[in-house]
């Protein structure tokens, strides 16, 4: 039911407690993404996440609402970091509560696949001495499109 864009580390335990609230639904699925220690075979030392705050907020809020309708969620939450991140830092967390496990799990996957390509964040990797903007991956476009094929 809410979005947080934050520079701080994600407190997964606190987010989970907030997600389920006083009356947990029957099925709760979560996903956390962490910064990988390598990028295309090279050691990654840090990651800078640029974002477009107003648009990111709107896109993620709209994504949550779409997930509610599509997967009959009772609760959801999306947390996305921005700014300077280190290897193994948490970068994104999504949680979904539904009556059945299939819906909760699918909603998490849908939110992740969609925010990867639709939410205005850009990753800049520090690889060894150099830096580079991360290019969009074909697999992410493919994964995003799968959900459009199934759209109601």
């Amino acid at each position: 039911m809410s979005v947080s864009l934050q520079p701080e580390a994600i407190n997964v335990a606190a987010e989970y407690a907030e997600l389920i609230g006083d009356e947990p639904g029957a099925a709760v699925a979560t996903f956390t993404g962490y910064v990988r220690g390598h990028a295309e075979g090279q050691a990654l030392t840090a990651l800078e996440l640029e974002h477009y705050p107003e648009m990111a907020q709107k896109v993620l809020l709209s994504l949550g609402k779409t997930a509610v309708e599509r997967f009959k969620l009772s609760r959801w939450r999306i947390v996305h970091r921005f700014g300077s991140l280190s290897v193994m830092d948490s970068i994104v967390w999504v949680g979904a509560v539904a009556e059945h496990r299939g819906e909760a799990i699918a909603a998490c996957e849908f939110m992740m696949d969609t925010l990867k390509t639709d939410a205005p964040f850009w990753k800049r990797e520090q690889v060894g001495a150099g830096e580079q903007w991360v290019a969009r991956r074909d697999i992410d476009i493919y994964r995003r499109k799968r959900w459009q094929g199934e759209a109601q």
Partner: protein, 89 residues
């Protein structure tokens, strides 16, 4: 009578600006309101770096925080953003 232009990530870097004002009357009239394509064309006149950045493949255009095609009509007070494909998550 202007709009706000925003640039992000590699575009922001390449052009050395993250936000600028654009006088919409440069490209728009009551009879022929401007679309995103017209604003882009005017900005591209600023130089080769602008032209290259704004006509790169896969450029994304967002008008008032929504992704749009270049035929979207731009109105006074709008916020128009240009950026490369998003890589969140």
């Amino acid at each position: 009578m202007n709009i706000t232009i925003k640039l992000f990530a590699a575009l922001r870097e390449a052009l050395g600006e993250s936000e600028l004002k654009f006088e919409l009357s440069e490209v728009s009239s009551d009879a022929a309101p401007a679309d995103v394509a017209a604003v882009k064309a005017a900005l591209a006149n600023r130089g080769a770096d602008w032209r290259e950045a704004l006509y790169q493949p896969n450029l994304v255009h967002a008008l008032n925080h929504k992704v749009v095609f270049t035929d979207a009509v731009v109105s006074e007070g709008d916020e128009l953003a240009f950026f490369p494909p998003m890589t969140g998550g």
